[in-house]
Amino acid sequence: MSGLEVGGLRAGYGAAWVFHGVDLVAGEREIVVVLGPNGAGKTTLLRALSGLVTTRGAVKVGGVPVLGLAPEEIVRRGLGHVTEERGVFGPLTVEENLRVGAFARPWPRRGVDDDLARVFTYFPVLQAHLRQPAGTLSGGEQGMLAIGRALMGRPRVLLLDEPSRGLSPGLTARLFQTLAAIAGREGGTIVVAEQNARAAAQVAHRVHTLDAGRLVA
């Protein structure tokens, strides 16, 4: 079964639609990249999927319709979202940030410690800073923490908004290698919105371009 199915999606702020009719299907263990310049609507597309903006159409996560639900309920149905600004909890420690991510899972939350260990295999640097307030991490480390936190919720679909932002080309390449490993081992679907076409295209199973409110294959 498909991880993410989007049909005829329209989304916008207030009365103005930013895009009109986006269709997108992404299967399990797939990385789908949505390219587009600044202002093309990539961020709005991801926000629409997680219920942060007004939306019409159909969105299914693992076959379950989620459109119209509150963001926290959509997350609880298996859609993780790492926003452009990362949104780590600055005063909380790295470990606390990761544990918060597990609240996306239904009761009873078993295996949280195993999941922590798994996140450290992808991002060893987080383990080194476990007791440190997240606000003291570098920008790149905060990005890793945000991805790790989303993984703690065991998402079926993981949305990443410009994960390469602020990273050097070398670090970007390594991050995408890690994402490929995550998609392969966790079995979920990863949707990446990116400006950086080269780094993303190397690991992507499919690349779409968002242009003038339409998704082009």
């Binding site: 997350v75 979202h81 909890f89 544990r99 918060v100 991510g101 609240f103 996306a104």
Partner: protein
């Protein structure tokens, strides 16, 4: 003089408990709850009814705290949730409603409330001990429980908390419940000192607002220190300078807050 200081600390403990309640609501839901004193007043009536029914004070107190927790959470769910954009106005509406409801149920007649603590300077250890216990309990819940973790996540970044699957509305209700529980302690502690009546928390609220301001409305320890400071300052000013001066003390403290607070906060942040 020493006796007056002890007496002031006793009153200060009451302010500290209500200030703690104000800080909890502000820090976790971003609003100053003007109805906090009225919720505490109702809690004092609940405690009075329980003691009147024959329960011991030390059974009635925890029961009252539990009832207050539920009432606070319920107030958030039933009232505050309806108008999150106008939260401050809603708390004033809640103030008026709870006040009128209490006057309707218990009338405005003055009632006496039993004082379980011995008189004299050492009696002050009782209220201080109760407030210290509440502070310790809150610390454990907020720093070392899963529920406390959701509270701190929501306070740090509500949208990121939402995107981590936290049901922010329920967390806000939890914050209101904890605050009402802390506030209940102030109501029960002040009731033997003033008479039990619907307007009993008016003056306490003003002092507690000033005390909360000392902690910048976000720092629990600062709010407790502010409460004790104001309690002592009021007593000393009222005894040695001029009885009516008591009323002015919280306002003077509020004016001095920028000077006191900046230092206190930088120490906390370091």
């Amino acid at each position: 003089m020493i006796g007056q200081v002890f007496h002031g600390l006793g009153t200060g403990a009451v302010y500290a408990a209500l200030a703690l309640a104000l800080v909890l609501v502000y820090r976790f839901t971003g609003v100053v709850n003007f109805a906090q004193g009225e919720l505490a007043m109702v809690s004092a009536y609940v405690a009075w009814q329980l003691v009147d029914a024959g329960l011991s004070y030390w059974v009635a107190l925890p029961l009252t705290i539990a009832v207050a927790f539920g009432a606070g959470a319920l107030a958030q769910r039933l009232v505050m949730r309806q108008a999150e954009d106008a939260a401050l106005i809603m708390t004033i509406g809640l103030y008026v409603f709870v006040h009128a409801l209490a006057a309707q149920i218990w009338s405005s007649a003055l009632r006496t409330f039993p004082n379980p603590f011995p008189g004299g300077p050492l009696g002050v250890a009782g209220p201080l001990g109760v407030v210290a216990g509440v502070l310790a309990l809150l610390y454990v819940v907020i720093r070392h429980s899963g529920a406390g973790l959701t509270l701190r996540a929501v306070a740090a970044d509500p949208r990121a908390a939402r995107l981590s699957g936290i049901r922010v509305g329920r967390v806000h209700a939890l914050g209101w419940g904890l605050a009402a529980a802390a506030g209940a302690v102030s109501g029960v502690l002040i009731a033997p000192v003033v008479f039990l009546e619907p307007g009993m928390m008016g003056g306490v609220l003003v002092s507690a607002l000033a005390a909360a301001a000392v902690g910048g409305f976000v720092n629990p320890a600062g709010a407790v220190a502010g409460g004790l400071l104001i309690g002592v300052a009021e007593t000393l000013a009222g005894t040695y300078l001029w009885a009516d001066l008591r009323v002015v003390v919280p306002l003077v403290i509020m004016l001095l807050v920028p000077a006191i607070r900046v230092r206190g906060q930088s120490r906390v942040r370091a």
